[in-house]
């Protein structure tokens, strides 16, 4: 009887070990790898002339995804919870809103004694390890196998946590739309969060995001991340430029290359709500990535200790016998 129990526990432990070894491999098997091509974009901001074609193309292409809120909005409790309503300001194009997922920042100043004026298309950077997706408690924000980070407008409750945890505070809320209206509209949620989804429906069809396709200056390039990153590095090396997005927030799928350092640009742009900064951003999940290994190991260590304790107890009983 004792032998059988030990064998059973040992077999269970072995199975548990096999189940958690190299968890990332679960998503990178041969079958999955064919579809698992993470795409990244390179923006050569020295080319941007701020014509706004990308902004218009984004609106035309993604307009069918924009919120159509029901009014009047439900009364919110507590009263300090305010509605966010952009439905009467859909034409605003000088910042990010639920109806404007891409806008152009302009930076003017002086660098190395030379004046500069640069234009920077701003939108979601589609992080490799996106805080919005990792920390969404509701599964509404996620990263897909093309490296696109998107928010499911059918289940988002509009709590705006994604905006709070995003280093650039990119997602924007519209009240009066979404699932919260069917749940507890006064007490939980406040609408839906919106941001660039890099034209995921077009990308799924093998097409190019609208902002890239329409640009008359060829500011943006899209392709497999490794290739685009190499291209960004080569461009920066060739022009003596600087890269933003390769390491920011642990790495993003958007690389800006600029002839002016980004800390200089960050000082030269207007920042604030809907107007993201260009400051350096570290990896917010460095601690979690270390702790993850302990999470995988903890149950195994616990089981092994428990089994050893039982076996030792059984052995001592045998001795007593």
């Amino acid at each position: 009887m004792k032998v059988n129990r030990r064998h059973f526990l040992a077999a269970g432990l072995a199975a548990a070990t096999a189940a958690v070894v190299r968890p990332a491999a679960a998503s990178t098997g041969d079958a999955a790898s064919a579809e698992h091509v993470v795409l990244a974009t390179l923006l050569d901001i020295s080319k941007c002339i701020a014509c706004g074609a990308c902004v218009e193309a984004c609106r035309e292409t993604n307009g069918h995804k924009y919120p159509q809120p029901q009014k009047p909005f439900p009364k919110m409790y507590p009263s300090k919870v305010k509605a966010a309503d952009w439905s009467d300001k859909q034409d605003v194009d000088d910042r990010l809103t639920p109806y404007n997922w891409l806008y152009i920042q302009t930076a003017t100043g002086e660098y190395n004694g030379e004046p500069f004026e640069l234009h920077i298309p701003r939108r979601c950077l589609h992080c490799q390890n996106p805080p919005c997706a990792n920390l969404c408690p509701w599964g509404a924000a996620s990263k897909d196998n093309k490296g696109i980070v998107s928010i499911n407008d059918e289940i988002c409750l509009g709590g705006a946590k994604c905006k709070d945890v995003c280093p650039w505070h990119i997602p924007e809320r519209q009240t009066g739309v979404g699932l919260y209206l069917k749940l507890a509209p006064g007490f939980a949620g406040n609408g839906v969060m919106y941001k660039c989804d890099r034209c995921r429906d077009r990308v799924a069809l093998g097409e190019t995001p609208a902002c890239i396709e329409v640009c008359p200056e060829g500011v943006q390039t899209i392709g497999p991340r490794d290739k685009i990153l190499a291209q960004a590095r080569e461009l920066a090396k060739r022009t003596g430029g600087f890269i933003y997005g390769d390491t920011e927030n642990g790495g993003t799928n958007t690389f800006y290359v600029s002839p002016v350092p980004f800390d200089v640009l960050n000082q030269a742009i207007e920042k604030g709500p809907g107007k993201p900064h260009l400051a350096s951003v570290g990896n917010p999940f460095a601690k979690e990535e270390l702790l993850a290994r302990a999470v995988y190991a903890a149950p195994l260590v616990g089981v092994m200790a428990g089994v050893l304790h039982l076996v030792r107890g059984a052995t001592s009983e045998d001795d007593h016998e």
């Binding site: 679960a26 998107s150 428990g306």
Partner: protein, 141 residues
């Protein structure tokens, strides 16, 4: 109550608290406004705390598992509580895996894992309460 049981209960309470802190409710409902409780609305702090507490919980659950498997008889409530724990642990570990930079899980799977993690916690709370009432009733009778 032995010390391990005390640690287990405190860990479960702290896990539930830091778990609910993942939702944007503590700032909305004034808890974070209470002096000394500002951290309840710090998502990153609570996330790291949830990981550390999960490590403690998983080690204790692992330690207890061999004893639980030796239990001679299982009531229906024991089985339900056990399945809830299994569900919480499994979905929690998958969530940790999902949060690794090189991993990819489909958006639909991510949604279901998040909902199931929350659902199993709610169910465990109800099932544990019911089981304790059944046990108390059995002792009284």
């Amino acid at each position: 109550m032995n010390s391990l049981t005390l640690v287990f209960r405190l860990t479960v309470f702290a896990l539930a608290f830091t778990g609910f802190a993942q939702m944007p409710i503590f700032a909305r409902y004034y808890l974070a406004d209470v002096p000394g409780f500002g951290w309840t609305a710090d998502y990153y702090f609570n996330h790291v705390a949830h990981y550390i507490l999960a490590i403690v919980l998983l080690a204790i659950l692992g330690w207890r598992l061999p004893r639980v498997l030796r239990r001679p008889a299982w009531t229906a409530m024991d089985v339900i509580v056990g399945l809830c724990w299994a569900g919480i642990v499994l979905t929690g570990i998958i969530r940790v895996m999902k949060n690794q930079p090189e991993s990819y899980f489909s958006p639909t799977l991510v949604m279901w894992i998040d909902w199931l993690h929350l659902g199993f916690v709610m169910l465990l709370g109800v099932a544990s309460l019911l089981r304790s009432r059944v046990r108390t009733g059995a002792v009284k009778s």
